[in-house]
């Protein structure tokens, strides 16, 4: 298990380094980027940037000093807003985004698993049919459309819930639903198919032959095995929720990281784009790593396979 964790950790570091390098050099290629020596910012900011990013030095030096500042968790500074650092933006926006993301993940996983299990247990019944119709719709309607529909109906038309900003628990509901529908649909479908497969396994028959009740069989024998594939896609889902939060935060005017990121794209604030991309990628890759480790603990077979292989 230790070698497995170490190997995965090594792969994670390589991927992180690759992302940093890729981002750095891509930003140098971008037209109109400050790295590209086409400056249209004011003198004070320029001086600041020159110092921070060593823009007069050779590119190799710039790259190394960028790596060095990242090691100190310094993600750079803004061009358009003088004095604003990426770390400062992260400190403001990340807690909000994290709250929204976590709410979404919890809602999506809980409702997705429940829908999927019910659908599988009532296979071909009315619940199955309804749950799967809901799931296909959830997958088909993009989150930004879901968000506008929710605002249109529940906020503007019926005045049930507030449409925008982030000030009370009530404000959390609509953006969470908009962001959670897609992942929920994916989890529901995966849980259902994996549950249906597990229920045909020989060890389920063994459990029935012991005289266990259907409830015990589902909870103790089927669910745990059926949820293993769900765990494996959690990392990818987190990535989806994170990118989804860009548009959701913009639509609902939520002061999170995603909104700053979209704003920085629109104003071509390259240093903020670079800093946030690196931060996001790092966050996601660590999530993927954690999910892999969690899987290793949940599936006892993993340990042995990795040792042998």
């Amino acid at each position: 298990m230790v070698t497995y964790i170490l190997r995965r950790f090594g792969a994670m570091i390589i991927t992180l380094w690759l992302i940093v390098t890729l981002t750095f050099f891509l930003m140098h290629l971008a037209p109109g980027s400050p790295f590209n020596q086409e400056r249209n910012t004011n003198a004070a900011v320029q001086k600041n940037l020159m110092e921070h990013y060593h823009l007069n030095e050779p590119i190799a030096f710039q790259y190394l000093s960028y790596l060095k500042s990242l090691l100190h968790f310094d993600f750079g500074m803004s061009i358009t807003q003088p004095g604003q650092t990426v770390n400062g933006l992260l400190a403001q926006g990340f807690p909000v985004s994290f709250e929204l993301g976590m709410m979404t993940l919890v809602v999506a996983v809980l409702s997705g698993v429940i829908l999927g299990v019910l659908a599988a247990l009532k296979h071909n019944g009315i619940i199955d049919y309804l749950a799967m119709t809901l799931a296909v719709i959830g997958i088909s309607v993009p989150n930004f459309i879901m968000a506008t529909l929710l605002i249109q109906e529940l906020a503007v038309h019926w005045h049930v819930l507030p449409a925008a900003t982030w000030s009370s628990p009530k404000h959390v509901i609509l953006p969470t639903i908009a962001l959670a529908t897609g992942p929920m649909a994916i989890i529901a479908r995966l849980t259902r198919s994996s549950m249906l497969e597990v229920l045909t396994q020989d060890y389920i028959r063994t459990a029935r032959a012991k005289g266990l009740s259907p409830y015990k069989i589902v909870v103790r024998h089927a669910l745990r095995n059926a949820l293993l594939p769900v765990v494996t896609i959690l990392g990818t889902l987190t990535a989806g929720i994170l990118t989804g939060s860009f548009v959701i935060e913009k639509i609902f005017a939520i002061p999170g990281m995603g909104k700053y990121f979209v704003d920085s794209i629109n104003s071509r604030d390259y240093f903020v784009i670079m800093g946030t991309t690196v931060f996001y990628s790092g966050f996601l890759i660590i999530m993927l790593f954690l999910v892999d480790i969690a899987y290793g603990f949940l599936d006892p077979r993993i340990k042995l396979h990795k040792k042998e292989g």
């Binding site: 992302i19 088909s140 990628s281």
Partner: protein, 322 residues
């Protein structure tokens, strides 16, 4: 007494044997039918898959929807009397009517022509991105899986690292660097998109390579190229098609997402994502049609691909059926 019940029939059997005509106790002649095995019409893989697909109502709905959407996307802008980009300043924000079937937007542009023009872009991006993914993925994955050993090891290490990159984030970054536009969207989507296809093709090839029938043709000295064409490709086709029906809606979603962020197709050209973004203001103005039609068409397209993909998966991979 173990056989009590079996033996109950004893007296009864004497009675029955009397009623059975004696002439039947002669050697039985072989019936002709037995010699010929029952011949069922043999269907090949594709006929069989099509038969299964046709039975799946939901998948057929998806297929029909898709055909309608494609036909409309190709022909509606051509036959519409309005241009998708022409602004008629006297006809701003008109609700759907006989002249403007889907109404007009804030600049007086016909939403019917614009929506179907946008759908054309969406479908174009989806198909092209999927085909490029297919092309790169099949070659890369095929070589990796077929060669095996060290080559496979190195090629797959690279794929693993690329696979670890957050997809949409990388696409956004590429769009920022390359600038918005249709061709850059396709490049950005396929730059990391082929990795999924490569992994799947490699897995399939690796598995099929070791089947007896491939080993058999190798022992006969069949050439590599022929083995790939005759044995490997037809057997990986099903999985590849299923993967493609999943790639297309994901590419369509990505395009809409990027256009919504302002990184995709640029005005005055229409894209469904861009139109949805424009339609956002409808929430406040009440011009519901500016949001409804583009949003509905994207969702319908995604729906059609998703249910068709599910159906194809069931039809093409009978092993996965339940």
């Amino acid at each position: 007494m173990a056989l009590k019940n079996v033996n109950e029939d004893e007296t009864f059997s004497d009675h029955v044997s009397i009623s059975i005509p004696d002439h039947l106790f002669t050697e039985r002649r072989r019936r002709k039918v037995e010699a010929e095995a029952v011949v069922r019409p043999s269907l090949n893989y594709w006929q069989d898959a099509w038969r299964r697909l046709r039975k799946n109502k939901l998948a057929m709905t998806g297929l029909v929807l898709l055909i309608i959407l494609v036909v409309l996307a190709i022909f509606a802008p051509i036959f519409s009397s309005h241009s998708p980009t022409k602004q008629v300043l006297t006809d701003q924000n008109l609700p759907p009517s006989k002249t403007y079937w889907f109404g007009t937007d804030a600049l007086g542009r016909d939403l019917f022509a614009r929506s179907w023009y946008g759908a054309r872009i969406s479908l174009f991006v989806g198909f092209i991105a999927a085909f490029i993914d297919l092309f790169i993925g099949v070659i890369y994955g095929g070589i990796s899986g077929y060669k095996g050993g060290k080559v496979d090891n190195v090629m797959m290490r690279m794929v693993e690292i690329l696979y670890g990159l957050p997809y949409l984030l990388m696409v956004i970054l590429l769009m920022v660097v390359m600038g918005p536009g249709l061709s850059t969207i396709i490049v950005a989507l396929t730059a990391t998109g082929w990795v999924g296809m490569a992994r799947i093709v490699r897995g399939q090839v690796l598995q099929i390579k070791n089947y007896e029938f491939v080993l058999a043709s190798q022992t006969f000295g069949t050439r590599t190229r022929r083995i790939i064409r005759k044995n490997l490709l037809p057997n990986t086709m099903g999985t590849i098609i299923v993967q493609m029906t999943l790639t297309i809606p994901s590419a369509i979603f990505s395009e809409a997402f990027l256009s919504f962020l302002g990184l995709g197709v640029q005005p005055p050209y229409a894209s469904l994502g861009l139109m949805t973004n424009d339609g956002l203001s409808a929430i406040l103005t009440g011009y519901w049609w500016t949001l409804f039609f583009p949003a509905f068409i994207i969702s319908l397209t995604m729906y059609a691909f998703n249910v068709l993909g599910d159906g194809l998966q069931d039809a093409l991979d009978p092993k996965l059926r339940r």
